[in-house]
Symmetry: C2
């Protein structure tokens, strides 16, 4: 479920956070389902439990999960999170379009590859 890329320069806990965000936003992990425990996931990934803990703290801070002492960590409802994520994607798209324009790229040239990705038929 979680894979660590040691060539990735970002810290491990950040990779874990991002991966769970993805799984939660895509509903692979359903609301209220339980995440692996701090210790068991650390075992699976052969890393320190503290690193997992740090990732879970961050996920909780961002609203992706909630933790109950003695019971475990669970996936939050994600409707609001999906909306937030979509906004972030749009923000990135705007930034990228701005850069493209600054480098003299034509609107058609830029949009063409996007339409291709989405598929021609709307």
């Amino acid at each position: 479920m979680i894979v660590i890329d040691y060539r990735d320069r970002r810290p491990i806990y950040e990779q874990i956070v991002e991966r769970f965000q993805e799984l939660i936003l895509k509903n692979v992990l359903e609301p209220d389902s339980q995440l692996p425990s701090v210790r068991s996931l650390a075992m699976d990934l052969s890393i320190n439990p503290n690193t997992i803990q740090r990732a879970y703290v961050e996920l909780e801070r961002q609203g992706y999960i909630y933790s109950v002492q003695g019971k475990g960590s669970f996936v939050s409802e994600n409707e609001r999170l999906v909306l937030k994520k979509k906004e972030e994607i749009l923000d990135e798209a705007v930034k990228l379009a701005k850069v493209a324009r600054e480098f003299g790229m034509k609107k058609e040239e830029f949009i063409r590859v996007i339409i291709d990705e989405f598929g021609e038929v709307s």
Copy 2:
């Protein structure tokens, strides 16, 4: 010309590399014009000359500049670099579009913000 952002988590030399890439690609620095010397730029930015050296080595490796011992470092011809940069931007756009689609975003919704950025008239 160059500004260091200490809140940026990326290393200083990487910020410098990126900034010069931008200045060169946008033709703010013209081909064959001379870059500030390793030592003088280090003085200006109040950082160590080795950090600048590292940035210049990287810029030379990527083809953005060429260095001549005893003379200085100079901007390369940039036509090829601009093409490469445009390809990179398009690659990013495709990746982002893919993510947007994965999160169930509508094509129109995604393209709308881009069109707005470029301006309605083509």
